[in-house]
Symmetry: C2
């Protein structure tokens, strides 16, 4: 029996560029190459050139299909045969259900009972079998362990998995392939799978790029972990950003410590206002978890505080924003009574 | 004084391919090259491969900026100096206000008093000066004539203008440049500017392509005109597709008679259901006028009734849909009480 890798030490080797390129080749025929959109009016508000990588327009409505497809499509027939099990606040569950359907195997999804109805319906539409749990990290894990023991299904964790991180990295890889001179990339952080992948995918193509994680103040474990230097837990959270209620793992914590420049916190009001702005100005639907990555840029002091190096072309900074998903209940918009 | 061109006769020469290419070169640096998106779940519903040209993601939130920018940027300084005047249900008004602001000249917009608040606000945000009129074709024209007489501004009609038609043609030109083997293009029809441009832009690159106009049954003048062979008027209309309340002009009627294969009518319920489906499945915001072009494709019998030639590659038909705009009031969604 091998020793479990220590993420605390320098010995953890995150996914290599080769693993990310292989992931990209594996999933590209199945997923969308999402567009990068711009908005002159949002540029004006931010005082910067903003470029939005629209993973809300991705298959299953979020970036999660990248990691899930990479993990599930790389399994042997034997590994996949008893199905896939995971825990998810919704988007990863839909992605696992979708990719498992591509493989023709069952998907067992454990999700908190306060997950939005629209995310539950999406998982059911892909044929996923749902088990509900309490909206706490501990309950998620216990329930997932139990379902796994009952089914012998293969576990595809939403973020504590190098195959997932390599898959999520392909979004930033596409971003930098098309926009090689971005000065920084902003992405939301929850368990840290997307943000870890964003570090690897972006820095693999532009070493000096800044990576900024954005997090709801009501679910601030990544902020506390990275500022204190010790992994902090998050027992429960009620942020409207329903995709950002998980907490870092030792693996993602180790990776983010090495690569992330800053974590910025935003309030619930800022999240809702930023979401509405994207709907209004860009005519695309983002869920609150997405707009968390735009919200800090609407505070004029923030971009300045990052002290980005002056661009040699004299332009304002070029900032990439990953819009992570677009799964919202169209009968209950955050800004409607 | 020269004789007015007769659109009834074969003597009317619509914009040439050269005029369309010049329009494209003129406006391309100012506008978005909008993405073409797909949706596996909508393909399944339609029984066809659907490709959506997303003019809802265009500057000002609709294709209208293409024609307005072409007309206004091609004026001499002298012609532009006293400003631009137009009548519009909203999107053309915002486009004229935006392009006039690029030229640094005033924009006088006549719009029906039942136009959505969000469209009024957009025009005001671009600095346009609004005069309201009754929601009738006759009142629109009279009010516009009066404002033009008072200001001596240059008239840029929303569709009865070859510069506008050449500009709108650039959407279909981009579409066919990227998707050269489309079997048909579906576009909404109101005054006929977009549909006329779609005919010219698409057939200029693929002579045999079918062009299908889609129209609310509550504003069916194009359907009645093309089936009867005589230009029919539309005195008033209360369709939810607020961008489709105008009627053909002799110019657009002449052009559509030559090039359009069919006009399909859709009910209000079908328009709303199709809009909601685009929001839910594609995560993009379309206004009801846009979803008019998708709605017929959700009726399984419709694609069959078009008798499209069998594709040599054995694939189901590849159908292009122009999503014309995304300007909706986010406080009053069509499907909410």
């Amino acid at each position: 029996m091998s020793t479990a890798p220590s993420f605390e030490s320098a010995s953890y080797q995150p996914p290599t560029w080769e693993a990310i390129s292989q992931a990209h080749a594996r999933i590209a025929p199945r997923i969308h190459r999402t567009p990068i959109l711009t908005s002159a009016s949002l540029d004006k508000l931010a005082g910067a050139g903003l470029f939005f990588k629209c993973e809300n327009l991705q298959k299953t409505g979020s970036f999660k299909i990248r990691g899930a497809a990479n993990a599930i499509l790389s399994l042997s027939n034997e590994q996949a045969a008893r199905g896939i099990v995971t825990q998810s606040s919704g988007n990863h569950g839909a992605a696992v259900a979708c990719a498992a359907a591509w493989r023709g195997v069952p998907a067992y999804i454990v999700m908190p009972k306060n997950a939005p109805a629209v995310k539950i319906q999406a998982i059911e539409a892909y044929g996923g079998k749902i088990t509900f749990c309490e909206p706490k990290v501990s309950s998620r894990k216990e329930t997932c362990d139990r379902v796994q023991a009952e089914t012998s299904a293969h576990l595809v964790h939403p973020y504590d998995d190098d195959r997932i991180i390599a898959g999520q990295a392909t979004a930033a890889k596409e971003f930098l392939e098309e926009m090689p001179d971005l000065d920084a990339v902003f992405a939301p952080v929850s368990g840290g799978g997307l943000l870890s992948g964003t570090c690897l995918g972006a820095k693999g193509l532009r070493k000096e790029i800044r990576i900024i994680g954005c997090e709801p103040a009501r679910a601030d474990d990544a902020y506390r972990s990275l500022t204190s230097g010790t992994l902090q837990s998050l027992e429960s959270s009620d942020t409207i950003a329903d995709g950002l209620r998980a907490s870092l793992s030792p693996r993602t914590f180790a990776l983010l410590r090495r690569h992330v420049d800053r974590i910025l916190l935003v309030t619930e009001e800022e999240i809702i206002a930023a979401a509405r702005l994207v709907w209004e100005r860009m005519k695309i639907i983002v869920e609150p978890s997405s707009s968390v990555a735009l919200a800090p840029l609407l505070k004029p002091s923030v971009v300045k505080s990052l002290n980005l190096p002056r661009r040699s072309d004299g332009h304002p900074p070029k900032l990439g924003v990953i819009l992570s998903g677009g799964n919202v209940d169209l009968n209950a918009l955050p800004w409607l009574p």
